[in-house]
């Protein structure tokens, strides 16, 4: 009886009007927190060391989606393998596509790698373009602005707070952006090899060149023969780094690096990808540092 009362008390003691936000990936969870502060109660479906391509419609996700006021997805089919099931099973009308409580980040940025043809023979291609938009900090700003408006719509009473929250975040972000761009200036024009096409937006931002990808097709694990061929093919372009996300299998990048002596940069990819990437600022501080340091 006592425990029951305690549980009930804890239930009601939760911030009473906090908006329940369900983010599919950690970067949007972090962004919602930056904008909403204590007005939002944020849940992330995946953590920083999880592959966002392979998520399951886990029971906990259905339970969380059931109570969500706002669903933040990346879009561009990143969540196509699980989110539709979670949404249908949740029985929550507020976060169904088309409702104000459903938000897709990819709607608010310029998409890259939009395929000219759609054929699964080309691997895991996405009709709307490359979904890993969070690796360009300018996209974070664009998504944040739209997200603050979404929050203001579904929680009109606190609209001013969300707008002010975004304005404060945007100011800090622009200052940081100038710093990152200054620190990363030597990277301009440098060719790199990527493991998965996770870094299209990052490279676009910093003016770097993708010399090759270790994956023969997006989402297809590289074979030893393919890697051996790559070592030869990329010799001429003299890549400076091999980039992989913290969640990627380390073996392909390490093997390639051992053959070519091109150093590997393990980037956090999202918030929580490593110790330093505690929040969005930490994510890019650390990303820029890990790119610049090996080139010194």
């Amino acid at each position: 009886m006592r425990t029951l009362l305690f549980v009930l008390a804890a239930w009601f003691a939760l911030p009473a009007h906090a908006i329940q936000v369900f983010a599919t990936v950690p970067e949007w969870a972090a962004l919602a927190k930056e904008i909403g502060g204590d007005k939002v109660n944020v849940f992330a479906a995946t953590h920083g060391l999880q592959d966002p391509h392979h998520v399951e419609a886990r029971p906990s996700l259905i339970a969380r989606a059931r109570r969500a006021d706002l669903m933040i997805a990346t879009g561009a089919e990143l969540e196509v393998g699980w989110l539709p099931v979670v949404l249908r099973e949740s029985g929550n009308v507020r976060v169904q596509p088309g409702q104000p409580g459903y938000f897709e980040a990819a709607d608010h940025v310029r998409m890259l790698d939009v395929p000219a043809r759609l054929d699964r023979a080309d691997g895991d291609v996405h009709a709307a373009g490359n979904p890993h938009i969070q690796t360009d900090p300018r996209n974070i700003l664009a998504v944040g602005k739209a997200l603050s408006e979404s929050l203001a719509t579904i929680d009109a009473a606190n609209a001013a707070t969300y707008r002010a929250g975004f304005a404060a975040f945007a100011e800090k972000w622009r200052t940081a952006l100038a710093r990152w761009e200054k620190d990363a200036a030597p990277l301009k024009g440098q060719p790199v090899v990527v493991q998965h096409k996770s870094w299209t937006y990052l490279l676009d931002w910093l003016g770097m060149k993708e010399a090759a990808a270790l994956e023969p097709k997006p989402g297809v694990e590289p074979s030893a023969a393919h890697l051996a061929r790559l070592v030869e093919q990329t010799a001429a372009s003299r890549p400076k780094l091999v980039l992989r996300a913290a969640y990627n299998n380390p073996r392909p990048a390490e093997w390639y690096s051992a053959q070519t002596r091109v150093p590997v940069a393990v980037l956090p990819f999202t918030v929580g990808g490593n110790e330093a990437a505690k929040d969005l600022f930490g994510l890019f501080d650390d990303t820029v540092r890990r790119l610049v340091e090996p080139l010194r």
Binding site: Q50, E56, P59, A63, R66, V85, G123, N248, P250
Partner: protein, 444 residues
């Protein structure tokens, strides 16, 4: 493109200049300087143009797309097709397959025919109907021709409050494996308990109401009512429902990298004149029927662990218990003797599948059934019902599968099937299952 034409221009001016009669070395030097200047100015202009193009490209453009992760924004429904084929080697005749000790469930429970065989091709069509409803149909196309409506249902989207209603024909929410389409199973065929108790998989023509509690732990409860027809039910030709099911599932995460779900379900029905064929004590073919009550309980649990870098472990198991009581009519076309009948039968399977590297998985499954003793009233003798003589079928299965992508899987499975009394069926399956078309989302 632009750069090329500019270069052509500069080269032609160069050649023109060279064509002029050369007089002195000074002239040549001046000419060289002029060309160099020309080149420089062109290069500057090109750089400026390129900068403008880059700027135009990077200015944000608002792209408006349908806000749906499944890409169903177009009015065309999502269409998907599953193709499957097998090659089997069986040490026993699949035509004579039976699960001894259990009333034959009439489903497609035996292994496929020997040698090469085409599996069922599955055509799925799904789309939102309007803001409140979604529709889905799955047609199973049998290799010998003909289509079977596997599923065809509508489902609410906008009821809210955690509630969802379904109507039509759909895979029941009971158990764990039951809700998954056969092509999503981790082994080539269903667990023995499903084959013996539910004819493979339970689906129903009826309605389902489901509710999810507003808690962080998943608590899901559902109720189904339907018309029956397939085993263990019979077509009753009466108003109201003939079969009812209740299910409850709880589930959640265990730390960052593990998740689980457990549940309890019950399927209740009152079959009338449910027929099956047997032979009597003299070896003559007879047809028997059962009329009475049938209740099947299922406890299910699944645990999934993610070790990172594409290494995953799934452990699952389900326990079935069925009680049937009523009247058994023996040899309805001949002797036609009726007697009281009571049976309590059970079965379970446990299986584990481990993805040990990207694309590769291995799995083991153990199946066990217990027919129990049938208790009869006194008119009939146990010898009259040879199929129902007590037996404990079991099966061991091993599988390895390889996926070229998430859309294609090639599987090798060995099974030592002791479903038949005193017979061991050594089975080898080689199976492919691929899906094309719309990228369907998968259930847990």
């Amino acid at each position: 493109m632009q750069r090329n034409s500019l270069w052509v221009a500069s080269f032609s001016s160069l050649s023109l200049a060279l064509a002029a009669p050369l007089a002195q070395a000074d002239d040549l030097k001046a000419l060289r300087e002029e060309v160099a200047q020309l080149k420089k100015s062109y290069e500057e202009r090109i750089a400026a143009l390129e900068a403008r193009i880059a700027q135009a490209e990077s200015s944000p453009q608002k792209v408006s797309r349908g806000a749906t992760p499944s890409g169903e924004a177009t009015f065309n429904p999502a269409i998907s097709l599953v193709l499957a084929g097998t090659y089997t080697r069986l040490s026993q005749d699949p035509e004579a397959y039976a699960i001894d000790g259990f009333v034959p469930s009439g489903g497609e429970v035996g292994p496929p025919r020997r040698s090469f065989g085409l599996g069922e091709s599955e055509l799925g069509i799904a789309a939102n109907i309007d803001p409140t409803l979604r529709g889905q149909m799955t047609l199973a196309l049998a290799p010998e021709g003909g289509a079977d409506v596997e599923e065809a249902y509508i489902q609410t989207l906008a009821l809210g409050g955690g509630a969802t209603l379904k109507a039509g024909r759909f895979l029941s929410g009971i158990g764990y494996t039951n809700g998954q389409h056969a092509h999503a199973w981790d082994f080539a065929d269903a667990p023995l308990a499903y084959k013996a108790m539910l004819g493979g998989q339970w689906k129903n023509d009826g309605v389902q109401a489901k509710w999810i509690a507003p808690t962080d732990l998943l608590v899901e409860m559902g109720v189904e009512a339907g018309a029956g027809g397939a085993f263990p039910t019979t077509d009753r030709n009466k108003n109201g429902n003939t079969v009812g099911a209740l299910f409850a599932h709880v589930g959640g995460d265990a730390g960052d990298n593990a998740s689980w779900r457990a549940g309890l379900s019950v399927l209740g029905t009152s079959p009338r004149d449910r027929q099956y064929d047997d032979v009597d004590s003299l070896g003559n073919d007879v047809t028997n029927t059962f009329t009475g009550k049938s209740r099947t309980w299922i406890a299910d649990a699944v645990w999934k662990q993610d070790f990172g870098f594409d290494r995953k472990l799934i452990v699952q198991g389900e326990y079935f218990r069925r009680r049937e009581s009523g009247t058994l009519a023996f040899d309805v076309d001949g002797a036609n003797l009726a007697d009281g009948y009571r049976a309590a039968q059970s079965g379970y399977y446990v299986q584990t599948v481990y993805q040990f590297m990207p694309r590769w998985r291995a799995g083991y499954r153990y199946d066990r059934l217990d027919s129990g003793e049938v208790s009869l009233g006194g008119t009939l003798n146990a010898d009259d019902l040879p199929i129902l003589a007590a037996y404990k079928p079991k099966r061991n299965s091993l599988m390895v599968d390889w996926s070229s992508s998430e859309f294609a899987r090639l599987r090798l499975q060995f099974a030592r099937d002791e479903s038949r009394r005193d017979l061991i069926d050594r089975q080898l399956w080689l199976q492919y299952v691929v899906s094309l078309g719309a990228h369907g989302a998968h259930r847990y």
